[in-house]
């Protein structure tokens, strides 16, 4: 039964996304009701069209589900499944770490401006994703890249960079 679970999980991501979109389009349709006639016509048309497409797509997904399950149940890929689960777990961990670094760095932008944000982002990835033996090299890259980006944006193109009360 293991392979079934894996495949179904993958299917679920798609199905869930479609359900979220269904709610999204439905909500946009309802929100448009008080708008003037000409303002609501187009978004409601798009919403109705998309809702129909999603419904058809979901019906196809669920009617096909049984057939796919039958087909994959016959395949013995238990070993592959264990390997896949381990890879997925590592990927998910890295994804959450990346998001944590992005969010913290963006938040530091409000207080530390461009310099802090950029340095935190580059160093964050160097620390949490790089190998320990490459730490010095990655730190040098982080500092150099911060300077290069600052130089290109601020001096060459005179583009105002993010500023805050510290910098």
């Amino acid at each position: 039964m293991e392979p079934l679970k894996m495949k179904e999980k993958l299917k679920l991501t798609e199905a869930w996304f479609k359900l979220i979109l269904f709610v999204f389009f439905g909500l946009f349709f309802i929100l448009a009701i008080p708008y003037p006639e000409k303002s609501k016509q187009f978004p409601q048309l798009i919403a109705v069209f998309s809702l129909i497409m999603i419904t058809i797509s979901l019906i196809i997904d669920f009617t096909r589900k049984g057939r796919v399950a039958e087909e994959i149940a016959a395949v013995d890929d238990a070993e592959l499944k264990v390997l896949d689960a381990a890879i997925q777990k590592t990927k998910r961990k890295r994804f959450y770490k990346a998001w944590a670094i992005i969010l913290i760095s963006t938040a530091t932008g409000f207080s530390g401006g461009f310099l802090f944000t950029t340095f935190f982002l580059l160093m964050g990835f160097a620390l949490f994703f790089g190998e320990r033996k490459n730490l010095f090299k990655n730190t040098v890259v982080a500092v150099a890249m911060t300077i290069v980006i600052f130089f290109i944006f601020q001096w060459v193109f005179e583009i105002p960079l993010l500023k805050s009360f510290i910098w």
């Binding site: 798609e14 708008y35 000409k38 990835f125 993010l162």
Partner: protein, 498 residues
């Protein structure tokens, strides 16, 4: 003076040192601007405007023209190497350009792009020089109903072909169209779906959304693994391999150039549609469509040739009619007016020396871009060998700074991040963000022309199928939607006969 004499005179004008220097400076500036995600041709020209205000008109327009052209080329470099298009016009290039990099063929893909810039740009410019008034006249035959249907055709082709599953493609395109309705309504001025948030009152900013959908999404995908973009860890193939490969597809080149020119002369349809349509057509006519999206050189050839051929077509309407075909062309139009070159049919007589100098400069730029590509391809391709812990934060920093720099708003960074999450979920859910992007790009034009057509007809929907052009467009739209389903049926029937 006939066209040929004016071209000869323009060549002499270009060879003056200040014009040549302006051309080179515009090229370098354009490539750097293009390479930075978020800063496309429009931002590049806006930033450079104060610099050229005191220059002679011809020199300034040569600078701006080469900047405009090269920023598109610069955008394709990042689209190929890190899956982060510099501008919406480079969105089609990522479909096969980036998978080529994953196979270590980044240098080959860059060579295809450089050659396409030279060939597509030259074909487009030569057609423009000799047929500008005729093409402008053809564009005038398109009314609001035809524009509406052209946009629908573009969306249906992309939805059906790019995604590989028509329904999913249509849903993604619907999402893009729906998001394009956020902000002020173009007809009534009524605010829609902003929930009181000011930064989206003028609509969801396109470049910020583009940065999120492609650059941020790609950075997140890369962050999941500890390798590098090139999965084989080395570069395979060189620049000349790409050049030779390019000329192995003459039919694809001609088809893409024709699509690019056609889309270019239609105001507001734009280069992003041209590249995607050419890619979709190449895939549809290919004997091995399954290789498209997995690093097929023909995909890069089609999208890049079409985009480069589209730009001159784009300029036709801008120069001959004063109707810009894209945001970049709109800024170019503004620059022309600042320098006293007022667009219109008479401009080809009254300011012939400036206009033809610009045309010749753009042809020269196309050739020079090839040599620049030849010089930098190898060095740029090395980016794909950098480990993900180095390249991911660089993509993030440059992309988010590009987003921020457009309006100096932190809200734009948040918008990019939100679109990054959306793009990531879409990819994980088996959707491609490309139809969404095209929906977002064309949404305003679709809605505006839909209402305009109905206003002209007094509310009658017959306007959408009354002209011959409309009927052809409707037929092509239905064919593109039914094609993926009819194809296998047709195959079965013909095989059954055998």
């Amino acid at each position: 003076m006939n066209t040929f004499d004016m071209v000869i005179q323009a060549i002499y004008s270009i060879l003056q040192w200040q014009n040549l220097a302006a051309l080179m400076a515009g090229m370098i500036y354009g490539i750097i601007i293009g390479v930075l995600p978020g800063l496309g041709p429009s931002a590049g020209m806006a930033l450079a405007l104060p610099l050229v205000l005191k220059w002679p008109p011809a020199t300034a327009l040569i600078f701006m023209g080469s900047l405009y052209k090269c920023s598109n080329y610069g955008g394709s470099i990042t689209a190929i190497l890190v899956n982060a298009p510099g501008d919406a016009s480079n969105a089609a290039t990522i479909l096969d350009g980036y998978p080529m990099c994953e196979k270590g063929k980044g240098g080959v893909a860059l060579a295809l792009s450089s050659t396409a810039a030279m060939v597509g740009g030259t074909i487009g410019m030569i057609c423009l020089i000799f047929s500008a008034p005729f093409l402008a006249h053809f564009a005038l035959r398109f009314g609001p109903a035809e524009y509406f249907l052209t946009a629908l055709l573009a969306l249906s082709i992309i939805a059906a072909v790019v995604q590989g599953a028509t329904l999913k493609g249509l849903i993604a395109a619907g999402l893009g169209l729906m998001l394009s309705t956020v902000g002020f309504d173009v007809i009534t001025g009524h605010l829609r779906y902003t929930f009181g948030w000011e930064p989206i009152e003028d609509g969801i900013p396109l470049i910020q959304a583009l940065v999120g959908l492609f650059a941020i999404t790609q950075a997140l995908m890369l962050a999941e693994s500890a390798e590098s973009i090139s999965r084989i860890g080395k570069l395979a193939g060189g620049f000349w391999e790409g050049v030779i490969t390019y000329f192995k597809y003459p039919y694809a080149i001609i088809r893409a150039a024709v699509i690019g020119l056609f889309i270019g002369v239609l105001p507001a349809v734009g280069q992003s549609s041209a590249g995607l349509l050419a890619w979709a057509e190449a895939k549809r006519e290919s004997k091995h469509p399954e290789t498209f999206g997995n690093g097929d050189p023909e995909g890069v050839i089609s999208s890049e040739t079409s985009t480069n051929a589209c730009m001159p077509g784009d300029l036709v309407c801008t120069i001959a009619l004063g109707i810009p075909g894209s945001i970049g062309a709109a800024i170019f139009l503004g620059v022309m007016i600042i320098f006293g070159v007022v667009p219109g049919p008479l401009v080809f007589r009254e300011k012939a020396n400036i206009i033809y100098s610009l045309f010749v400069a753009l042809v020269l730029t196309s050739f020079l871009m090839f040599f620049i590509g030849m010089t930098i391809a190898k060095h740029f391709a090395a980016i794909t060998l950098l480990r993900n812990e180095v390249i991911v934060p660089i993509i993030l920093v440059v992309s988010l700074l590009g987003s921020f720099a457009i309006r100096n708003l932190m809200a734009d960074v948040i918008i990019s991040l939100a679109f990054g999450i959306l793009g990531y979920i879409m990819l994980k859910g088996g959707f491609t963000p490309v139809p969404l992007l095209l929906g977002l790009v064309l949404g305003e034009m679709v809605e505006y022309n839909y209402h305009r057509a109905l206003m002209i007809s007094g509310g009658s929907y017959s306007i959408f199928y009354s002209s011959v052009i409309s009927k052809i467009l409707i037929f092509l739209t239905l064919l593109s939607l039914a094609g993926p389903y009819l194809g296998p049926v047709w195959k079965k029937l013909t095989q059954g006969e055998k």
